[in-house]
Symmetry: C2
Subunit: 333 residues, 2 copies
DNA sequence: ACAGCCGATTGATACGTTTTAATCACGGTG
DNA sequence: CACCGTGATTAAAACGTATCAATCGGCTGT
């Protein structure tokens, strides 16, 4: 392994001082064109690559941002992550990914890790909004943007989709189709998205006579959870005539349970999902869903974050709320 | 923003030297129990968190590893990433994620970024096996493990699934069902997985009389690419009686195109995918597929990588090849 | 010809940690 | 009582970069 080549060797080769090399790297406009060319050539010949840790140590902040999601395997988050990664990569940052698995303990452990790594900013869908590690990060001057969670506090950015509106949209659609006995399949208790969507669903029901909403909580917001909830739902005395799921994964699971049991979708039971993931349209019965601008969510969140990082003074915190949209397919007839 | 609290402040508060604090952090067994307790208390009271960049700078290597995949939105990679993240997180490392988008230029840019961040190791599914940045990383002493790519070189670890066997498995299955006019829908040219699966398909055909294999290349290995390939496939003079796709996403797209055009699956055309993603079973017609131990791939790859990082001398490079498995569902009758 | 100025470059220092060799306290041994 | 060994602790020297005040050289205007 050859002796590491640093800014010093480059400087020597280009017959300039280390300071100049640093300037070429960080403020190229400050150095005269011919000098710059010489330095660049030396960098190339020596195969120099800047030592990020030294740079971070000296500058006091890194060129990395963290992204913490509830579940990397969930297409909703991967789609958002794609938006995040695109911006990050365009702007020359690095992305530290971590997964809380909807587990507050794991979340805290990972937050500490991100703090150690001195990330400059953090995009997070928190399990625990009030985690002390989260507050500590902000006190240390790390910008935090809430992802898919409406910002309660005016002193930070957030990007979210109006889940109450989404829930209302969904149930209004089902009511319009004449369904009256509606089941709501949610995730584990305590997840804000699920709560908001339920709230929207309830509001839609307010004006509707003779309609009722029953709730089934799945253990995880994935296909398996949906399958399980679907079975419980079929085991009841009366099968509902419509199911609204907090998630497309749940909906796919529920649909599978229904079809397996011989129920017809949508004739006997309408099924409605949430997120409009890529696979929704390819499902056994193409799945109606509530679409969110997921990729945009990731992109915009990251742009807000980087703006706050790069321009802390001129930055105005924003709480962005997108509106969801209903996509009707066969599963609701 | 309060003056940063470092190892020095902790030392002062615990009435010890900075060196001792460092020892508490890195080799707790070397420091006497009462001292250790005092230091730990001070850390807690001051809310100290170790500065990773300083640590990395001094130690010469970080506690982060990189993961570069072809497409973060592809469930195959997210499933593998879950395996990676689980191990990383258990062992207290950080994960830097980047996405090459099957683009060699983006790949090189991201590799440079990872090199700057001084990742200690890298898991990668390369677009370009011979990218100079990749070789440069290894020369710098960064451990590299190839993910889902059989290792040609004996001097590095790799974890992969036998794609030739998978292709053969797939086409043998179709032949056994009496299909003779088989289409192979692959991704863009140059992707090793696709090439290997084609090779396996060809070998399966060797002994079969009157059977032929036609190829359709999709633009991207996603649902849209499959839809498009499906349309081209239908536009031909004779529609094949079976389609083997290099990917479940492609298969879902192809299936959708077929169903939309009124073809019956599997009666008119059998469809067979690859990867057995979670959604395969929930498809319009439950999709037969070739299953790979994807989560395990990520886990084992990471374990090999960390072993190589932590124990560079005693480490023996391994090229692990898993065997795929056919999962027959309705789409092949 | 000279003061003054401006852009380009330099030199020195600090960032927070790890590590090595040196120091210290202390009890057992000859 | 002097000596040595042992385990715990310390002091000091790096690691590679960014930054800032200082310097240099050339040019303008008087």
């Amino acid at each position: 392994m050859r002796p590491t080549v640093g800014i010093r060797e480059v400087a020597e080769r280009a017959s300039v001082s280390p300071g100049t090399v640093s300037n070429v790297l960080n403020r190229p406009e400050r150095v005269a064109a011919p000098t710059r060319a010489r330095v660049l050539a030396a960098i190339d010949e020596l195969g120099f690559v800047r030592n990020g840790s030294a740079s971070t140590l000296r500058a006091g902040h890194s060129r990395a941002v963290g992204l913490m999601v509830l579940d990397i395997a969930n297409p909703f988050f991967t789609e958002a992550a794609r938006g995040v990664e695109d911006v990050i990569s365009e702007r020359g940052y690095a992305l530290m990914l971590s997964n809380s698995d909807e587990d507050a303990v794991k979340e805290r452990r990972n937050l500490r890790m991100l703090a150690e790594q001195r990330v400059q900013g953090l995009l997070v869908t928190p399990v625990d909004d009030e985690a002390p590690e989260l507050l500590a990060l902000r006190e240390r001057g790390v910008s935090v943007v809430l992802l898919d969670r409406p910002g309660a506090r005016p002193d930070q950015c957030s990007v979210a989709v109006d889940d109450v509106a989404g829930g209302r949209l969904a149930v209004e659609h089902l009511l319009r189709l004449g369904r009256r006995d509606i089941a709501y399949v949610s995730g584990p208790p305590g997840i804000r998205q699920c709560d908001d969507r339920r709230e929207g669903a309830r509001r839609a029901l307010d004006g509707a006579d003779g309609a009722r909403l029953r709730e089934f909580a799945a253990e995880g917001m994935n296909v398996r959870g949906g399958l399980d909830a679907g079975q419980r739902l079929l085991a009841g005395r009366r099968t509902p005539d419509a199911v609204f799921c907090a998630n497309d994964l749940l909906a796919l699971g529920v649909m599978r349970a229904l079809l397996r049991a011989g129920a017809r979708v949508p004739d006997d039971v309408a099924v409605l999902g949430y997120d409009d993931i890529e696979f929704a349209a390819a499902a056994a019965v193409p799945l109606s869903s509530v679409r969110q601008p997921t990729y945009q969510l990731g992109r915009l969140g990251t742009e807000l974050l980087l703006d706050e990082c790069e321009n802390p003074d001129g930055h105005a915190h924003q709480q962005v709320v997108f509106q969801p949209e209903l996509v009707a397919r066969d599963s609701t007839g």
